[in-house]
């Protein structure tokens, strides 16, 4: 699929001697050396990424790592020193002022860390701002503003003024203002960074819910890895203006590219990152009419003490090794009830199912067995001592990052 947004070799150097700084970067000098010797500050160096339509791409990094600079180049608030930024194949960096203005009006909107609402206007007027700029008549833009305020649950506040609202509500207004013009791309620069933890959590969930219907292409900036893992379809970890690693949350946590990323990932709750499908083994099962000997033999060969039995392709139940040894009762009578889940379910939701001590069935849409979560795999994954084979898509390092467009969870 054609990417909605594509960024190629993007650099931003602040200061007069930017050409020289670019050359020094190419020679491998560090950001600090360049600042000391030329006085030029490296904001972003060689950023490459693509964002597919409807995807949330999160850029995560500490303060000063260049996140704001990067996101501001995407809508031309900061002109890049070199590189390409293509939205629907059109280069924002070189399209000219008039075209850039049109793109800002039609395609791309931004949400700011400190909300940036206009204090002298009502909430509805704030939300209608982008429409006013486009010259849409007052009555029409008010109607649209109210409709958008409805989406974020703030319609009753339409005629209040920004200072009367709490931070969380103000950011909802900021979001509504960005949504009102119907943009395809949303840029969000640490939108929840100024909010209390509880409110932040609420806003994150709300964004996830909204995104299910909106399906915007979102570039989301944060310094909070938990937020990145919760929201991102893919995540870029940024350091000193450079992408250190780009990948799905599971890649980042499961296969950190270097010590820097590992240090971040260390105290992440892995149960909230990995999904049943990530650790499920391929379904190896027996038929419910097999003989005792065959089943025991199968268990021996596969090294498992509990296996799933199928009856005409449907799951019949679980057979346990200790029940089968030394009896001659038909296999059918040893079947135990089982727990089933779906591949996209996060591991932390499996804990209650795991309490039965039996492997968990992973089923697909037709309720057929597509994999099995073994409990020792579950614990190994949570402990970070995952010994299973590497995932089908190896984690991306800074050098290969541009090649990645696949492995999107649905």
């Amino acid at each position: 699929m054609h990417p909605k947004l594509s960024v190629r070799h993007l650099f931003k150097i602040f200061g007069a001697r930017s050409e020289e700084a670019l050359e020094r970067l190419a020679q491998g000098q560090s950001k600090e050396e360049i600042l000391r010797e030329t006085g030029a500050a490296v904001g972003v160096q060689d950023a490459n990424f693509e964002v597919a339509e409807g995807e949330i791409f999160v850029v995560m990094g500490l303060s000063g790592s260049g996140k704001s600079t990067l996101v501001r180049m995407l809508n031309g608030l900061i002109p890049p020193t070199s590189g390409k930024i293509c939205i629907d194949g059109e280069d924002v960096a070189s399209c000219g002022a008039a075209r850039l203005q049109a793109i800002r009006r039609e395609k791309i909107a931004m949400v700011f860390q400190h909300f940036a609402l206009f204090p002298h206007w009502t909430i509805a007027e704030n939300v209608a701002y982008g429409l006013k700029i486009k010259g849409i008549p007052a009555a029409e833009r008010r109607a649209k503003a109210l409709e958008t305020l409805d989406q974020v649950g703030l319609r009753p506040w339409a005629d209040a003024r920004p200072p009367q609202l709490s931070g969380g509500m103000q950011q909802r207004v900021g979001l509504a203002r960005a949504l009102a013009t119907g943009p395809q791309v949303l840029l969000m620069d640490e939108p929840f960074g100024a909010l209390d933890p509880l409110i932040r959590r609420e806003m994150q969930d709300e964004l996830v819910t909204l995104q299910k219907t909106l399906k915007k292409t979102i570039v989301f900036i944060t310094h909070d890895l938990n937020e990145a893992l919760l929201l991102g379809n893919r995540i870029a970890i940024m350091r000193d203006g450079r992408f250190v690693q780009v990948g799905a949350p599971q890649d980042i946590v499961g296969h950190p590219a270097d010590d820097y990323v590992s240090a971040f990932v260390g105290d992440i709750d892995r149960g909230r990152v990995f999904r049943a499908g990530d650790i499920a083994r391929p379904p190896q099962s027996v038929q419910v009419d097999a003989s005792h000997a065959d089943v025991l033999d199968f268990m021996m060969r596969s090294g498992r003490t509990a296996v799933y039995a199928l009856d005409n392709g449907r799951i019949a139940g679980v057979l346990c090794h200790e029940d089968l040894v030394g009896t001659t009762v038909a296999i059918r009578d040893h079947l135990k009830p089982f727990a089933r889940t779906r591949p996209e379910v996060k591991l932390h939701e499996l804990y209650p199912l795991a309490a039965r001590g039996l492997p968990i069935a992973v089923v697909d849409d037709n309720d057929t067995l597509s994999g099995v979560v073994e409990l020792d795999d579950l614990f190994a994954c949570l402990a970070g001592t995952d010994s299973r084979p590497a995932p089908a898509h190896p984690p991306v390092t800074a050098h290969q990052q541009t090649e990645r467009l696949d492995a999107q969870p649905g």
């Binding site: 809508n75 608030l77 203005q101 909107a109 940036a116 701002y129």
Partner: protein, 307 residues
């Protein structure tokens, strides 16, 4: 003792005479004449109007404005002060001075606000504007009068023009300051939605800078008031003329009366414009309610036609 003058003498006075009389005045007289026309039109109209309006109506209007923007204290002061001016017999002169000040401030705003906006647009513009303003503010007001008389002659309008030049720097400075002081992320937000520079100016920068601009207007007004007496030296009338004639004839009483009139006017105008800066210009419903309240002090049925 040896002094530089023994070696070289510079005939600056001759040069200036040659420059102004020999070149500037003959070549640009039509321009300077034309420049006076809008000023003198506004001034004469305003002066005639203020002299025509009955004293009580003017006083009532100012008292209400004081009540709206500056509180009860100032309103009472306005009422008593204007009555006092009338009683000491200088009402017409005070109105002429008011007309002069309003004209000066009007032109200061018409020229100064756009200039301030221009200066705020780029650092280069401000680098050019700033030293000019600095020079304008360091030259003593008396020194203005010489070239003004040369170029514009004497009379009421040259007096106003001197006042405009003297009083314009604060409004330029504070307009620039106010516009530059608008929060950066608000500017970015406006840009990110694709607003033009004009849209940004109207929707965001001017409304957000309004308080600062009004503070500049207040300072400009005060400077204009301080020029009243000096401008009278080159033929401007009003209370300034009263003070000057009083001084010339060593008539302490006359000079004092003029001075008291100026002080009362200054206090009233200062308080009202300061209040406008702090509370905002918002005339809308609250003023209407206030007026309604004032006219409805007695029960309605008694009075068919209020006022």
């Amino acid at each position: 003792m040896l002094s530089p003058a023994d070696l070289v003498t510079i005939p600056l006075d001759d040069w200036m005479n040659a420059f102004v009389r020999g070149w500037l005045v003959p070549n640009f007289r039509p321009f300077f004449r034309a420049a006076q026309v809008p000023v003198s039109n506004v001034l004469n109209t305003l002066n005639a109007f203020l002299l025509w309006v009955p004293m009580l109506v003017t006083t009532a209007a100012f008292t209400l404005a004081a009540l709206r923007w500056a509180g009860v204290g100032t309103a009472i002061f306005t009422l008593l002060g204007f009555a006092f001016i009338d009683m000491i017999g200088y009402w017409p002169e005070t109105m002429t001075t008011l007309a002069m000040i309003v004209t000066s401030v009007l032109f200061c705003a018409l020229i100064g606000v756009p200039l301030g906006i221009f200066a705020a647009r780029s650092d280069t513009a401000w680098k050019i504007t700033r030293p000019v303003l600095d020079i304008m503010q360091t030259i003593p007001s008396f020194v203005y009068l010489v070239p003004i008389v040369m170029l514009f002659g004497v009379g009421m309008t040259p007096g106003i023009i001197a006042t405009i030049i003297f009083a314009i720097p604060p409004i330029v400075r504070l307009t620039n300051l106010g516009i530059r002081g608008v929060r950066h992320d608000l500017i970015e937000a406006a840009q990110s939605f694709g607003s033009t520079r004009w849209q940004m100016l109207w929707d965001l920068q001017l409304p957000m800078a309004m308080r600062t601009i009004l503070a500049g207007l207040n300072q400009t007004l005060m400077l204009a008031l301080s020029m009243v007496v000096i401008a009278a030296l080159i033929g401007a009338g009003g209370l300034g003329l009263v003070v000057n004639t009083g001084l010339g004839r060593l008539n302490v009483g006359e000079a004092t009366s003029g001075g008291v009139g100026i002080v009362i006017l200054a206090i009233v105008l200062d308080r009202i414009t300061q209040g406008m800066g702090e509370k905002g210009l918002g005339v809308g419903p609250s003023l209407a309610r206030l007026l309604g309240g004032v006219f409805r002090t007695r029960p309605l049925p008694d009075q068919k036609t209020p006022g």
